[in-house]
């Protein structure tokens, strides 16, 4: 069947019946979600266990079960590898891995797939695991990728039943309260894991910094925690909270950032109460910095900025240019300190952020957002998952959630990366439909979605270089010969869910190139 963005989607993917994507807000669910797993507790109970192996045994983890993890340690995470090694030692097979995201540091997952410990993966795959899955044929079921909000929804809706949630926590107490913003190796909020902790059959908190009861804030609560394990190391601080923060010096990226900021200023949203989401990429950081300057110049006070929190965003808050930051992740130590010390820097979880089935998402309150992409196409569709060679190399993150939520969604992308043109006739994979994308900003000009005539009029009046995607594409095609294209087979290696749980696209195995 063909879905609403024109992609061919099978009726079944693996063992799952597929509902095809129908539109960004076409679904409206009305009903009860899956109840949490409750089992009561005695008046006195010792939750401390001596090792991850002991926890695996205590949880009764067995073949075929689903284990979950959060990614707040990003590429510095140690816990996923520790737990999978312990699972291998316990002789477990066919586990379903349900992380919020995997990073290059999780390369050992590949070995656990090869030796049968893991047979299914549902979660973002950044880097080598994604590349491995792209080669296909190794997993018992195609992978499933969901946005931050989409994953939360899937757990609450019972699409994924978690058997054991393993939660890496920079600080915990023996009764199972835990947080990510204190302790020896803080990583920022661990709120991505709260939905897992509440819904898993068993929850194991793994910490390297056990403190007496009670630790606070209680991001993870005692009432959800079955076991607590202390280990020497849960993450590498150097890769946890500083890795992504690089201010760009590339003239191309700086040009894109400047145009993006200028477009925001020219938009109807740049008035008191203005809100925006920035990320930790080089372009986003530069835009955030420009916007701070522009707000100061114009005497505008914004309502809120949304994270991942960064030093740059914190600077905007502390200059009094926005009233609050809403943050589910922190990308550097300044952001972590700010969350800890400033009541206006509010920790939120992905449910608050973007649960499609809830009665309100923070993303719907956004005026504007600037997001990256691996490709865009002439219909403004955006790919963030695969590269033009067809390999699956990135997760969705909050892309769909923010793009469909913000009143003005801007995609920042160079028209050329090396010899690779980034504006395609059709994106390799649709992550986010063009229907929710308003502006594409390249170093060669801004393209405005024809639905947003109002914006292009304002941009032109402000002297900004408004051009069509076709024009920009033609311009870079004068600089490079056409590139090859992957030839896809029938085999599906991953399903890309829209944030409502329908399937917006599938990633097929690459069989060759033309």
């Amino acid at each position: 069947m063909r879905n609403a963005v024109g992609r061919e989607i099978p009726e079944r993917i693996g063992s799952r019946d597929v509902e095809a994507y129908r539109g960004p807000f076409a679904l409206r669910r009305d009903g009860r979600k899956v109840a949490r797993h409750q089992k009561g507790a005695p008046r006195s109970e010792d939750k401390l266990l001596p090792s991850i192996d002991a926890a695996i045994e205590a949880c009764g983890l067995s073949d075929g079960m689903t284990i979950s993890f959060h990614h707040s340690f990003r590429d510095g995470d140690r816990v996923i590898n520790l737990v999978l090694d312990a699972c291998a030692r316990a002789g477990l097979k066919d586990l379903r891995l349900f992380p919020t995201a995997l990073f290059p540091t999780h390369q050992p997952v590949i070995e656990h797939v090869r030796n049968g410990v893991v047979s299914r993966i549902e979660g973002s795959m950044n880097g080598p695991v994604g590349a491995f899955v792209s080669q296909g044929g190794r997993l018992a079921e195609p992978a499933v990728l969901r946005s931050h909000g989409g994953r939360w929804r899937a757990v609450e809706a019972g699409d994924v039943a978690i058997d054991v949630a393993f939660i890496a926590a920079p600080q915990a107490d023996p009764y199972g309260n835990a947080n990510g913003i204190r302790g020896k190796t803080p990583c920022g909020p661990i709120s991505f894991a709260t939905v897992d902790a509440r819904h898993a059959r068993q929850t194991v908190v793994i910490t390297n910094d056990l403190q007496p009861y009670p630790v606070y804030p209680m991001e993870i609560e005692q009432g959800w925690t079955d076991w607590v394990v202390v280990v020497d190391e849960i993450g590498d601080p150097a890769s946890i909270a500083s890795g992504t923060l690089q201010l760009t010096r590339s003239p191309t990226n700086l040009r894109i950032a400047r145009l993006t900021a200028d477009a925001v200023v020219a938009s109807p949203y740049f008035v008191d109460g203005f809100s925006f989401q920035g990320g930790a990429g080089g372009i986003s950081l530069a835009v955030t910095s420009h916007l701070g300057d522009e707000m100061e110049r114009a005497g505008i006070v914004g309502s809120f900025g949304m994270g991942g929190g960064t030093k740059m965003l914190v600077g905007v808050l502390h200059s009094g240019l926005i009233r609050a930051i809403l943050d589910g992740q922190a990308f550097d130590l300044d952001a972590i300190a700010s969350i800890r010390d400033d009541a206006a820097h509010v920790m939120i979880d992905p449910g608050f952020y973007a649960n499609f089935d809830s009665r309100g998402c923070a993303t719907y309150q956004l005026d504007t957002a600037f997001l990256g992409a691996t490709e865009v196409d002439l219909d403004f569709n955006v790919n963030v998952n695969t590269h033009s060679d067809g390999r699956l190399l990135h997760g969705i993150g909050g892309h769909q959630d923010v793009a469909s939520g913000a009143a003005m969604t801007m995609i920042t992308i160079p028209a050329l990366r090396g010899r690779m043109p980034m504006i395609r006739d059709r994106v390799t994979t649709v992550t986010t439909p063009g229907e929710v994308v308003d502006v594409v900003v390249t170093e060669r000009g801004l393209a405005v979605n024809p639905r947003r005539e109002d914006l292009s009029e304002r941009f032109v009046a402000a002297g900004l270089p408004v051009r069509s995607l076709e024009e920009i594409k033609a311009e870079v095609e004068r600089l490079v010969r056409p590139v090859g294209r992957p030839i896809f087979g029938e085999e599906i290696i991953a399903a890309i869910e829209w944030r409502d749980g329908t399937v917006i696209d599938v990633v097929r195995k690459v069989e060759g190139w033309e």
């Binding site: 050329l416 010969r481 590139v483």
Partner: protein, 387 residues
């Protein structure tokens, strides 16, 4: 003998050419998608050169023109008597001699990474440098690269090339790069009328050879020695191709033994502005070297503007907004100019000879200056984005 040209820096490619054999070997990070295109570019360049040669290329993000340039440079070095210079087809019209030139954005002619996208930043002039930025060993490859770049990019402003001094490689530079049809040539260390004439005659000869309208390639002498500054007036009027004088403070301070301070350079700047004005051409100020000193740049721009300069060099696109702001008429200036013109027109309609505005006499020079401001602003506005 095999020759290697280029580098494995991002945006570049390393090309090895061995004459007298055949075959193309391509190494690239993304072979599946890119190999076919790269191979086609190499084959086309080899065919245009008219030599038999085997080519091995290690590609690291090079655009087509970079690949063609690297292949050409390697083949010509490997078979100097057989490989013919590639004559690209170029579609570029000559520019107006008095068009706005608020900024001239420098880019090193030997670094594809820094040349890529140089045309997107909205500079009034791009200045591709073959002189100071390019080490001696890369001079030949750089001029070939600049030729291919010139032939490829579409740019709404002007493209200029800074050649080496005429007696130090400049002739060879001109022979090559004129095939890419630049709008103008920056002549470094210009010190005399003879320097400018020599370049002009060389250009005339090449324009004639190539069937290009004679006299349509402009010259911007750079005055960066004591002798150059002292001869500013003759140099400004040396040739109809000269459309602007540029000041080069770095070399000038070294030549006269000055320290780089505003006061120390005031004489040279003033003299250059006066010389340019008396010849009816533009004056462009030296570059500001400290990229991170945003307020310093703005201040120097404002002072240069006050002195009478029309524009300034930029070493990085980040400097363009401040430069463009300083050298564009302000809203107040434009409003005043419009009122001057309105007052003068009113006086003419009434048959009055002279007219006063805000208690001040509007005479011929005031009116001319107002018209110039309005025209200038109009031309800037007509070019879209630049601010």
């Amino acid at each position: 003998m095999a020759v290697r040209i280029g580098s494995e820096e991002k945006g570049d490619c390393l090309v090895e050419v061995e004459p007298g054999r055949d075959g193309v070997t391509v190494e690239t990070k993304n072979k599946d998608l890119l190999e076919g295109g790269i191979r086609a570019v190499v084959r086309e360049a080899v065919a245009a050169l008219g030599v038999d040669a085997s080519v091995r290329i290690v590609e690291t993000g090079a655009l087509d023109y970079v690949i063609a340039a690297r292949v050409e440079a390697a083949a010509r070095a490997a078979a100097p008597d057989r490989a013919l210079p590639i004559v690209p087809s170029v579609d570029r019209a000559a520019s107006q001699r008095d068009r706005p030139r608020r900024s001239r954005l420098y880019a090193p002619g030997n670094r594809p990474r820094l040349l890529a996208g140089i045309e997107v930043h909205g500079a009034d002039c791009i200045l591709l440098d073959l002189e100071d930025a390019v080490p001696l060993s890369e001079k030949e490859a750089a001029r070939i690269l600049v030729k291919h770049l010139l032939a490829t990019i579409r740019f709404p402003g002007e493209v200029w090339v800074r050649i080496n001094p005429i007696d130090a490689g400049g002739c060879g530079d001109v022979e090559e790069i004129v095939l890419g049809r630049p709008h103008g040539i920056c002549l470094p260390k210009a010190e005399s009328v003879a320097d400018v004439r020599a370049l002009s005659e060389l250009l005339s000869r090449i324009e004639l050879d190539r069937g290009v309208d004679e006299g349509t390639t402009w010259i911007m002498p750079i005055l960066e020695t004591a002798a150059g500054v002292l001869h500013a007036e003759e140099i400004a009027g040396a040739d109809p191709r000269v459309v602007a004088l540029a000041f080069g403070a770095e070399d000038y301070t070294r030549d006269v033994g000055a320290r780089r301070r505003w006061d120390a350079l005031l004489y040279a700047r003033s003299r250059i502005v006066a010389a340019a004005a008396s010849a009816g051409i533009q004056a462009s100020d030296t570059v500001f070297a400290d990229l991170d000193d945003v307020s310093g740049l703005a201040e120097e721009c404002a002072r240069a503007r006050d002195l009478g300069f029309d524009g300034k060099g930029a070493i990085n696109p980040r400097q363009l907004p401040a430069i463009h702001r300083a050298f564009s008429p302000t809203k107040d200036e434009l409003d005043y100019a419009r009122r001057v013109v309105a007052a003068a027109e009113g006086a003419e309609a009434n048959g009055a000879g002279a007219v006063a505005l805000d208690g001040r006499m509007v005479d011929r020079p005031v009116l001319e200056r107002a018209l110039r401001t309005i025209n200038y602003a109009g031309r800037l506005a007509g070019r879209g984005e630049e601010r």
